[in-house]
C-alpha cells in the first residue's frame, strides 16, 4: 500500500507559498535581517516571514497561523475543499515554540504580582498545533503534535506514514511549523551556535546558524483513496527512518552513527539502496558540529558524487518547521527535477569531505532523501519518490 503526497504548501522568509519559495531559491535571494518581531539586545540575523496580516486567526498564535497558511495551500494543491467530510483525516504536526507557554509578558506579570490575565494561558491551551488544526477542519482521525526539536517535522511526517499504513485513517495533514520567538533566540545564543552573519552550511568558515520561522505541510493519502477521488499519483512518501544518538543533550554524535542508522532505515523502508537516490536535502544548519557530522555520513552512505544541499540559507533554521518545509522542497524539487544551490557555501575546507551543489542544478531520478538532526540526538530521514 503506497502513500501519495497529494498536496504541498509552505511559507517561510523565502516566500508566502511554494512558488515564491522556489523563486527565491532560484534567484539566490536571502531575506535575512535583524529581529523585528520582539524586543531584544542580541544582533544575530534572522529570517522572519514579513507582512503577515495583523489580525491573525487564533488571536495571534503566530505558529498556528503559519501552519494554517501552508495547510490551505496544500489543500488547494491536493484538490481538497473544506469541510473534509467523507474522509477519516488525521493531523500530525511538529513544533517546538507552540508547545511551550513562553509568553514573557504574561510570566513577567505573574512573577511580579502573583497573578496575571490568563489570556496567554487560554491561547496556549487552545493552541496545541495538531489539535487546533484538527478542530478547525473538523478532522475525525488521530491527531498529535510532535515535539522532537529540530526533527519534529520529519518525525511528524514519518508518524503520518505509519498511521496510513496501519489503516487508522485515510489521509493525514503532516509537517511542521514554528514562529520566531525570543526564548529559543536567547537559548541558541547562549549555546554559542548563532552566527553573527548569514549562515554558511558546510562552508569551511561557517560560524553557526540563523534562526528562521515558517511552516511546511504535505497532504498524505492512501493511494487507493487518492485514485478513487480522481487523483493521478505523481509523488509518494516511500520511506521513513529514525534513530537516537545516545550521546549528548546538545552536541551531535561525532561518528554520526545515529544519522547513518536513520538514513539506512529510511532507504530500507523504501525498498531502495543508496545509489537510487538522486539528491539529499540535508539538515545543514551551518554549525561547526552538525555540518561536519552530516557531510561525513552523507559521503559514507551515498558516495562522493551525491548531490546535496541545505536550504537553511534561504529559510533559516525553522526548528519544528524545518522537517515540514524541507519535505515540501524535496517533493517539489523531485517533481520539477531541479535542486537549488546550497546558499552560503563557498568552499569546503578539510573538515567537510564532499561539497554541496553550488549552482542550481538539474537532476534526473526518482528518489530523494531529506534529513533532520535534532537537539538531544534524534535523527530522522524520509524518502520521497517520483513516478
Amino acid at each position: 500500500m503506497k502513500v501519495v503526497i497529494s498536496g504541498i504548501g509552505t511559507i517561510s522568509a523565502a516566500g508566502f507559498n511554494l512558488e515564491e519559495n522556489l523563486n527565491s531559491m532560484k534567484n539566490g535571494k536571502r531575506n535575512a535581517g535583524l529581529v523585528s518581531l520582539f524586543q531584544n539586545v542580541l544582533a544575530y540575523p534572522v529570517l522572519e516571514v514579513k507582512n503577515l496580516p495583523e489580525k491573525m486567526e487564533m488571536e495571534g498564535i503566530r505558529t498556528f497561523y503559519l501552519a494554517l497558511t501552508a495547510a490551505k495551500e496544500a489543500f488547494i494543491d491536493a484538490n481538497l475543499s473544506m469541510p473534509l467530510s467523507g474522509f477519516n483525516v488525521g493531523v500530525c504536526l511538529g513544533t517546538t515554540v507552540a508547545s511551550q507557554l513562553n509568553d514573557i509578558d504574561f510570566y513577567s506579570t505573574f512573577r511580579k504580582f502573583g497573578n496575571a490575565d490568563l489570556k496567554a494561558v487560554e491561547r496556549f491551551l487552545r493552541g496545541n498545533l495538531s489539535e487546533a488544526l484538527a478542530h478547525l477542519i473538523k478532522a475525525t482521525g488521530p491527531s498529535v503534535t510532535v515535539a522532537n526539536a529540530c526533527s519534529s517535522g520529519t518525525d511528524a511526517i514519518g508518524i503520518a506514514l505509519l498511521w496510513l499504513r496501519s489503516g487508522i485513517c485515510d489521509m493525514v495533514i503532516a509537517g511542521g511549523a514554528d514562529e520566531l520567538n525570543r526564548v529559543p533566540y536567547c537559548g541558541f545564543g547562549s549555546l554559542g551556535i548563532l552566527s553573527k552573519s548569514l549562515c554558511a552550511p558546510f562552508d569551511k568558515d561557517r560560524t553557526g546558524l540563523n534562526l528562521g520561522e515558517g511552516a511546511g505541510i504535505v497532504i498524505l493519502e492512501r493511494e487507493d483513496v487518492y485514485i478513487k477521488r480522481g487523483g493521478t499519483p505523481l509523488l509518494y512518501l516511500s520511506g521513513y527512518g529514525s534513530a537516537a544518538d545516545s550521546y549528548h543533550l546538545t552536541a551531535p554524535r561525532p561518528d554520526g552513527k545515529g544519522l547513518e542508522s536513520a538514513i539506512k532505515k529510511a532507504l530500507s523502508d523504501s525498498g531502495i539502496s543508496a545509489k537510487d537516490v538522486c539528491f539529499v536535502n540535508a539538515h545543514g544548519t551551518g554549525t561547526i558540529d552538525n555540518d561536519k557530522v552530516e557531510s561525513a555520513v552523507l559521503s559514507r552512505i551515498f558516495g562522493e558524487n551525491i548531490k546535496y544541499f541545505s536550504t537553511k540559507g534561504y529559510t533559516g533554521h525553522t526548528l519544528g518547521g524545518a522537517g515540514g518545509i524541507e519535505a515540501a522542497y524535496t517533493a517539489a524539487a523531485l517533481k520539477q527535477q531541479w535542486i537549488p544551490a546550497s546558499a552560503g557555501f563557498i568552499s569546503k575546507g578539510d573538515q567537510i569531505p564532499i561539497s554541496p551543489v553550488t549552482v542550481n542544478t538539474n537532476i534526473s531520478g526518482s528518489y530523494a532523501v531529506s534529513t533532520s538532526l535534532a537537539f538531544g540526538g534524534n535523527n530522522a530521514a524520509i524518502v520521497v519518490e517520483k513516478v
Binding site: 547562549s190 549555546l191 549528548h248 546538545t250 552536541a251
Partner: protein, 93 residues
C-alpha cells in the same frame, strides 16, 4: 562584582569552585575536592561542551567578563588555576 577587583588569586579560586559546583550541578563535590591544577574538561572533572558555554555565562554574570570565542575559552578553561588567572588579570581595575 565590585569586590572582585580586591580579591586575591586564592579567594578567586575558591569562589570559582563554588560557582562551578552550583551552576554545573556537580553533585557530591565540595570545593576542596577540585584540585587547582586538575583538568576540567574531558578527563579530570569530566566537563563537556555544554558546561563550557555555561561557564561562559558564569563569567559574564559574575565578573562581567566576555569570552570572545571558544578557542580562547579552551585555554582559559583548562584548570581552576588558568580560570582564576584569567579572572584575576581581567578584573584589576
Amino acid at each position: 562584582m565590585e569586590e572582585v577587583n580586591k580579591m586575591n588569586l586564592d579567594d578567586i579560586r575558591k569562589l570559582l569552585k563554588e560557582l562551578l559546583i552550583e551552576s554545573l550541578s556537580l553533585e557530591d563535590i565540595e570545593p576542596d575536592d577540585i584540585g587547582d591544577d586538575e583538568i576540567l574538561f574531558g578527563e579530570g572533572l569530566g566537563l563537556d561542551s555544554l558546561d563550557a558555554v555555561e561557564i561562559v555565562v558564569l563569567l559574564q554574570r559574575n565578573f562581567g567578563l566576555e569570552v570572545k570565542d571558544m578557542n580562547q575559552g579552551k585555554e582559559i578553561f583548562y584548570s581552576i588555576n588558568t580560570l582564576a588567572k584569567y579572572v584575576y588579570e581581567n578584573t584589576r581595575t
